[in-house]
């Protein structure tokens, strides 16, 4: 690993870790880049980025997502559904913890929902119904 005064560059994994002598990373603008589009199969999807679009896969239940695989504690994730699908976010005690533990149905990619991963669960931060 190569250190840059508090930032650690993990060349193999491609990650950068702040901390150590660094209290803050300050930036003018933050971008998560283009969303990755991933399939929902059997109530599950596997994300590798913060910015994610979910689309229907081809196996089992594809219009309801209960578990987002991948990620580690501390991850921020923004989920949206693909155009022209109806997707239900399914609350669960060991998967996604949603507001008042209720499922949430979206029909438009304009309705994002944000999470932070903690204790192995995706905890909802907020949602926006923009349609």
């Amino acid at each position: 690993m190569t250190a840059y005064r508090g930032l650690t560059h993990r060349g193999v994994e491609g990650g950068i870790i702040g901390g150590g002598v660094t209290n803050f990373v300050r930036l003018n603008r933050l971008s998560f880049g283009p969303a990755e589009t991933i399939d929902v199969d059997d109530n599950e999807a596997t994300a590798t980025k913060t910015n994610v679009i979910l689309q229907e896969g081809s196996s089992g239940t594809t219009d309801s997502v209960k578990f987002i695989r991948g990620g580690t504690d501390g991850d921020i994730m923004i989920l949206r559904c693909a155009t022209s699908i109806t997707l239900e976010y399914s609350n669960s005690t060991d998967g996604m913890r949603l507001q008042v533990q209720s499922n949430y149905v979206v029909t438009s990619p304009n309705n994002p929902i944000w999470f932070v991963r903690s204790g192995g669960k995706w905890l909802e931060l907020f949602r926006a119904a923009n349609d």
Binding site: G15, N23, N28, F32, G74, I76, R97
Partner: protein, 128 residues
């Protein structure tokens, strides 16, 4: 440019200086820092992701102040509860700017704040 060009270190702060944007695939805030509520107050966090638990002195179930020493405007703070013992976040003059004025945090609930002159609420989510 080299791999670190544009990142400038100064007194505990990494700043992106020669570029407007930092684009990343994944944002990770690490494990939350666990902080106690004592006498209605929480010490200054050292991380952007914190988890509140009741402390040991009186007034441990309500939080009206989160320390901010050294925090500059624009800093994001994500707060979550730690246990089933509720900690109620309360609006207060000069520190916590909440609307509605109270929000009970238990284990899975979250609140997002941004540093302005005090800590201003961005969002809250009762996940219990």
């Amino acid at each position: 440019m080299g791999a670190w060009a544009g990142l400038v270190y100064n007194n505990g702060l990494i700043r992106c200086e020669n570029t407007d944007w930092l684009e990343i695939d994944k944002l990770n805030l690490g494990d939350p820092e666990i902080l106690e509520v004592n006498d209605g107050e929480v010490a200054t966090p050292t991380k952007s992701f914190i988890q509140l638990e009741r402390g040991t002195v009186p007034n441990i179930s309500q939080c009206h102040t989160i320390g901010a020493s050294g925090f500059s405007a624009g800093t994001i703070l994500i707060v979550r509860g730690l246990s089933s013992e509720i900690v109620t976040m309360l609006d207060s003059v000069g520190n916590l700017d909440l609307e509605p004025a109270a929000f009970g945090l238990t284990s899975y609930s979250t609140m997002v704040l941004v540093r302005v002159s005090g800590w201003s609420e961005v969002a809250r989510s009762d996940n219990n």
